[in-house]
Homo-oligomer: 413 residues x 2
């Protein structure tokens, strides 16, 4: 049995970033850029006005005041998207925000400091030369590296990609993650209950949600009974997946068959089985595919164990495959309100906690039922408090590390 950190090292070492693919902008949102993005033009492309007002020559407004305004003849108009116009000594041009600075002009006087009479503008104040001009290239210059490969594409990145005329862009491929649910007792949605011992699946769809939320493509491979032929058949559906997740069937009972079959059917090489963690101890991990580029996670069937393994072990692997730079969820220091006790301390325990952000920092509260079959505990959880090997008690108010898998709690005020 290895430790969680050892297990994670093995997982990350064996996880490879996926190939590139080209997608249109709407599909690029949330993906990771796989090319460097350079500016195709200066931005702004030319000097332009930051205000509505008048474009003038500084020397014409030098010394202007309420008592002795500069009086200039209005000879042109410059609006956003318009042509380049010209201003000579003693003249001015109407100018609008975004309008090109006319040839000969060097300063913009905002409308509020002026008065217009017929074709003349009165300017009542001297402004420094260059006022209200947004200079060519003030945001960026042609050829500048604007976004480096590896950056996650958010809204601002979409805006930049658009402004440099990139309707399509290379991103890293998102992994396809197959989910196979095993167990004679498991019913899918809609199936009638015919025996007291039957359980309606939760894992299939909670894992579907987790995989989708982390930016991968879930594929539901279906349900396999604890029967060699059925398991073999359903496993054969997994060939096109980058990651195969199975739930159930991997502890020590005679009816726990999956671990051997993935080796037989898919050629999975198991790299570890059992981790000193709670929940999720009997997790198995391996690699498969021609270049051992695909991953296998054999996940326990208990719903909380399954979700915990996916959040803590599968998520960093998915994020690495999709090219992300920061693959681990945040770990914050939180004050554990109410404390936590346990009898055995042989495993790293992930306790379900809700979180609160106060002016004094994060506060965590452990959910009252921590059993690995208590799915309702996950409804209340924003993170996993870490209770380390050797620690039997964390006292009320002591600090604890918490893996935050949902930051929405920070919105509560």
């Amino acid at each position: 049995m290895i430790r969680f950190d050892e297990a994670m090292d093995i997982i990350i070492e064996n996880t490879k970033i996926l190939q590139k693919e080209k997608v249109f902008l709407p599909d690029a949102l949330g993906r990771v850029l796989a090319e460097d993005i350079y500016a195709d033009r200066d931005n702004p492309p030319a000097d332009n006005s930051g205000m509505d007002g008048f474009a003038v020559r500084y020397e014409d407004i030098k010394g202007a005041s309420e008592d002795s305004p500069a009086v200039l003849k209005i000879v042109a108009e410059s609006k956003a998207g318009g042509e380049l116009v010209k201003v000579e000594k003693g003249t001015a041009a109407y100018i609008y925000t975004g309008g090109l600075i006319p040839e000969g002009a060097d300063t913009v006087v905002q409308k509020e400091l002026t008065k217009v009479e017929d074709d003349k503008v009165f300017i009542f104040q001297e402004l420094p030369e260059g006022s209200n001009i947004r200079p060519q290239g003030g945001d960026y210059r042609k050829g500048d590296l604007l976004i480096k490969s590896g950056k996650k594409i958010r809204s601002a990145e979409l805006g930049i990609l658009s402004s440099v005329n990139k309707p399509t862009v290379y991103v890293y491929r998102e992994p396809v993650v197959g989910i196979l649910t095993t167990g004679d007792e498991i019913l899918d949605l809609g199936e009638p209950v015919t025996k007291l011992s039957q359980i309606r699946t939760s894992n299939t769809y909670s894992l579907y949600g987790q995989i989708k939320s982390m930016g991968a493509k879930p594929v539901i491979l279906g349900f396999a009974k604890d029967d060699p032929e059925d398991i073999k058949e359903k496993l054969s559906y997994a060939e096109s997946c980058d990651i195969l997740l199975t739930t159930g069937g991997i502890s020590v009972g005679e009816y726990d068959l999956v671990k051997d079959f993935v080796t037989d059917v898919l050629g999975v090489e198991i790299l570890f089985w059992k981790v000193a963690q709670k929940p999720g101890k009997p997790v198995a991990f391996g690699v498969w595919g021609d270049k051992k580029e695909k991953l296998f996670f054999g996940i326990p069937g208990n719903p909380v164990a399954a979700m915990t393994v996916v959040e803590t072990m599968v998520k960093p692997a998915v994020r690495k495959m999709r090219g992300e730079s920061y693959i681990f969820d945040p770990v914050v220091k939180a004050k554990l309100s109410g404390g936590y006790k346990r009898k055995k301390a042989e495993r790293l325990e992930f306790i379900k906690v809700s979180l609160e952000l106060t002016d004094e920092g994060f506060v965590a509260r452990a959910y009252k039922k921590q059993g690995s079959n208590i799915l309702t505990s996950m409804l209340y959880a924003d993170g996993f408090g870490l209770v380390d090997i050797g620690v039997k008690e964390i006292k009320d108010g002591e600090m604890i590390d918490v893996i935050v898998f949902d930051t929405d709690f920070m919105r509560k005020r």
Copy 2:
């Protein structure tokens, strides 16, 4: 000119939660539940085993030890999904995790504490009565309220919905948000540059990304020139939207036409125009539709101003429409490294900051270029630092409130 908080009060007061609709589970992820979810069965549905081992009668193993093991005849097998079997005095049943506790049995002894010889099991230790049994209803009872209407559906909620056999569920409708980009100077992706004054759009697609990221449906209404007929035509595309966003065309110039046209064409009632904020001062807000249930935001054309208005003003409205409980992004206290200075203090300023989470709390750093036309500043930003009206300087190391619009920075270690 009103203050930002006054503007937000007007927006939220005039925003109504949308209707319900029924969706399949995959589409429910990230949506807000619009019905209460009750348990259809006890979970677990019956007492079952938390271990692989043997189901026994406590009285049969009382006093068992290494020297004097209890010896029981194995008469049955209970596996997950199997039938209910029976154990009588002096007998035991094989049991697997999830297997029903046999009639007559009251305790499960884990495999590791036993030895099997032929049809007999030797039990070397007394365990407390009830050991390793997961009781019927231990997670929840039939009829329990499991998830309240109004909760956001995450992975755990999907799991619960599945476990109570709900393949479809009522959620609040997501708003359809129309985006109309105005301005003679604006080019769409792929259009050739024919004049120096032309600018390739960034707003259209950065806003698209923002709207999609906040859980609404963006519809790109297209591009309108600064021409009455073109604006009228493009505005008519907006009829089916819940929210109309226009960018550009709403400041004081003669070519700023949008605000009047939305009133003429769509019957928008403008509720405010101009807010004491930077960037985004000339923002307009109104309501329209038969019951004034639709919203209009007239947004300045500068790319940073546009994104800022969408993050701070449109996002809470979208979240309210889609039924969310916590509609405002988190506001955290952060130490402003490097400080910030400005000349005028008449407006609430949103400064673009990157954030870091340290053991001493959040640290914010202002981007060096804060101009409202500097879109690259948004590439670096995780949040907006708030510089209040009347404040001209925040010194290095002073605390500042930051609206966090992207929590991914917390992953950096």
